[in-house]
Symmetry: C2
Subunit: 428 residues, 2 copies
């Protein structure tokens, strides 16, 4: 029997009863003969409470100290989970990210894991212990400073541990049953996916599906770790994120009949900036994006139109996280004279709707069907961007729900209509 890595988020560790329930779940897996390594997030609202404490003493706390502060949250939850396991008659050892050998770069607040050296973990496993690891944190390779991986980073901790320990599976426990074809709060008929490919899951995560941390999926794909997203509140199978999802029951059909579309994602966290009247000369666009890069702005979609050929001027629009909006506008204003553009437009009343599916590679007509569905629902398209397995559109913020519902129905994703095409069986 191999190693099972599990991840429990804050909502699964909200209070003493929740922690005891998680401990029972962990012990069941150990009893079944597996070695178990668990990555935990901070309990419930602990991280928010710690951020509030920081804001109380300093409006702009240094990132190093913020990481030192926030990592206390996982330290508390990991010790409590270990205690609850011990109370069930099993032994557990908790380790901080640093002790667990989670080595990162030195970017405080959003560090990237560059290596995992799990010597203490494998030793503890060898001694028969269940191992609990603080998620979301590591130690920098060069400066030996404590770092954090950014919100949702515990998913990444779990899958990185699974890779380093050559685990059989990485189970991500959450408060929903798995990955859905759309957000069930918007589309009540959304269907749980039994399987989804890494690349589809990457696009879903990048396009606003909050169920898995983007870097977690990247890591899983790179090392070929099967990720099982499931609920900590039930024993149901969740969604398997794997390399090439196959129907497990051949009578359900061959791969050709797999659904073309994995799901519809949406994202209301972006804003759009338009730089109006940029002189149509070589190097102007480069200067603009150079200024944005210097301001550490993360860009998403970029569109350039010639507004009127006669004027030799062009408009450049791009989307970015709303939280970067202020910084981007300031950086652009600073180079107005140099670039010689006319003005800046800022719009944060937008939303992004994305259609994602590996099958769209080999199926023509997806785009026209998507846009047709949006038109029928009276949704106006602002910007368009595509990848091989994704089409995203920017729409008015208030049209997002209509756009998601219309698209979900147009592609036969609603639960009652698609019973025949769901991936069969109980996963893997």
């Amino acid at each position: 029997m191999g190693i099972v890595v599990q991840k429990y988020g804050g909502s699964s560790l909200a209070d003493a009863d929740a922690i005891k329930r998680v401990a029972r779940r962990i012990v069941e897996v150990k009893k079944s003969g597996h070695d178990v390594v668990v990555a935990v997030s901070a309990m419930g609202d602990t991280t928010d409470d710690l951020v509030d404490l920081a804001t109380g003493v300093s409006p702009l706390p240094p990132a190093r100290e913020m990481d030192m502060l926030l990592t206390a949250g996982e330290r508390i939850s990991m010790a409590l989970v270990a205690m609850a396991i011990s109370d069930l008659g099993f032994t557990a050892r908790s380790f901080t990210g640093s002790q667990a050998g989670v080595i990162t770069d030195s970017v405080h607040g959003k560090a990237k894991i560059i290596d995992v050296t799990p010597g203490r973990i494998t030793q503890a496993i060898g001694e028969g212990h269940i191992v609990i690891v603080a998620g979301f944190q590591g130690v920098s390779a060069d400066t030996k400073e404590i770092t954090t991986l950014g919100r949702g980073g515990t998913d990444t901790t779990a899958v990185a541990l699974a890779a380093a320990l050559e685990a059989d599976v990485c189970e991500i426990y959450t408060d929903v049953d798995g990955v859905f074809t759309a957000d069930p709060r918007i589309v009540p008929s959304a269907r749980k996916l039994d399987n989804v490919s890494y690349e589809e899951m990457l696009e879903l995560a990048a396009c606003g599906a909050k169920i898995l941390h983007l870097r977690c999926v990247e890591y899983g794909r790179r090392y070929g770790i099967p990720i099982h997203v499931r609920s900590s509140f039930s024993q149901l199978e969740g969604t398997w994120v794997v390399n090439d999802p196959q129907p497990s029951d051949p009578s359900q059909g061959d791969p050709m009949e797999q659904p073309i579309i994995a799901g519809v994602a949406h994202d209301r966290s972006e804003a759009k900036i338009t730089v109006v009247g940029v002189p149509d000369k070589v190097g102007e666009a480069a200067r603009i994006f150079e200024a944005l890069a210097e301001a550490q702005v993360n860009l998403d979609m970029i569109v350039q139109n010639i507004s009127a050929a006669a004027t030799s001027r062009t408009d450049i629009s791009f989307t970015l996280p709303r939280t970067d909006g202020q910084g981007a506008m300031t950086a652009l204003a600073r180079i107005q004279a140099e670039v010689g553009y006319d003005k800046l437009l800022y719009d944060d009343k937008i939303g992004k709707v994305s259609l994602i599916g590996a099958g769209m590679r080999s199926h023509p007509g997806i785009t026209s069907k998507f846009f047709g569905a949006l038109a029928s629902a009276g949704v106006n398209i602002g910007m368009i961007s595509t990848s091989e397995i994704r089409i995203s559109v920017i729409v008015d913020e208030h049209s997002v729900d209509d756009a998601v519902r219309a698209t979900h129905t147009a592609f036969d994703l609603d639960a009652d209509e698609v019973e025949a095409v769901v991936y069969g069986g109980t996963g893997r």
Copy 2:
């Protein structure tokens, strides 16, 4: 200008405002040209809250995990203090006990510091930073496990850092003005001591004065670190704990006129056990104390009387922390047949009152004056124990306050009467 080490306890770090006040205080010292290293406890009731969380998941949490849990408290407060300092325009670096090089033995929950290797601290000082260190914690030399030093351990962290860094002074900030001749809640006329010797302070701490951790004073004496106990709520000079207190103003008199008595301490945390009718044979007492040692019972006073010569039997009484009472009674009951004693008596309605002063070495008559004062106050003496600079008596729990007051007055310690004999000047 040398290094100043400061310690702030939980009551000085109760909330954001308190933390900002502490930060201003730290920055003042830095501005005056000193390098500053600060040991902090957990904020306010954090430790109690964490203990409650642990009790919620397990009635008997493993000591290793308890240490992992509790050390989160100082991690939070140290990061917040560093942030508050940064907000004042100075740079600070916080370090856990492990990062600060506080090396301990591996006894979880009451580890002892065996070495301090402050490489990261001296580097940070060299780079001009104020250094904040998590008190109360360290890392074990052999197993590299996180340990805690027991309640009050941050005092010891501070003085151990001061020794390792060859600091000029270790300032212990608390919520009272210094060390008093008696507990001011019992004796309102108690007087703050300007100076007290290490050995007197050791006896005071051992006899129930809660102002300084016992091991902190031992450490200070061993390495000759002047300890300044003072209030974080005022700028007043507190009490200096030093090797040989000298009046700083010769006109106030020579050392011969120093007060004989430093103070009166009391302790209500002990219980008394009497083993009645022990056969008066060689080895019987040894067997009793062997059994108590095996049960990890910490003994304080021990008294043996022959009850009646004709019976060849004796009574043995001893005092111990009430928390050890259950364990001691169980251990003794187990050896009753073997030893052949008659019965056990348990009394936890006792208190200990101690008179402490280096001057009593050279002054006869202290004992008779002490006992005379107790008799006049109608206080009955149960047991007596003495050291070179201390006399302790066990009295009825309800007589403790009367005994302390009567003794304090008898030795002219009350503030109004002793103005002429206080150590002069403003300390050192």
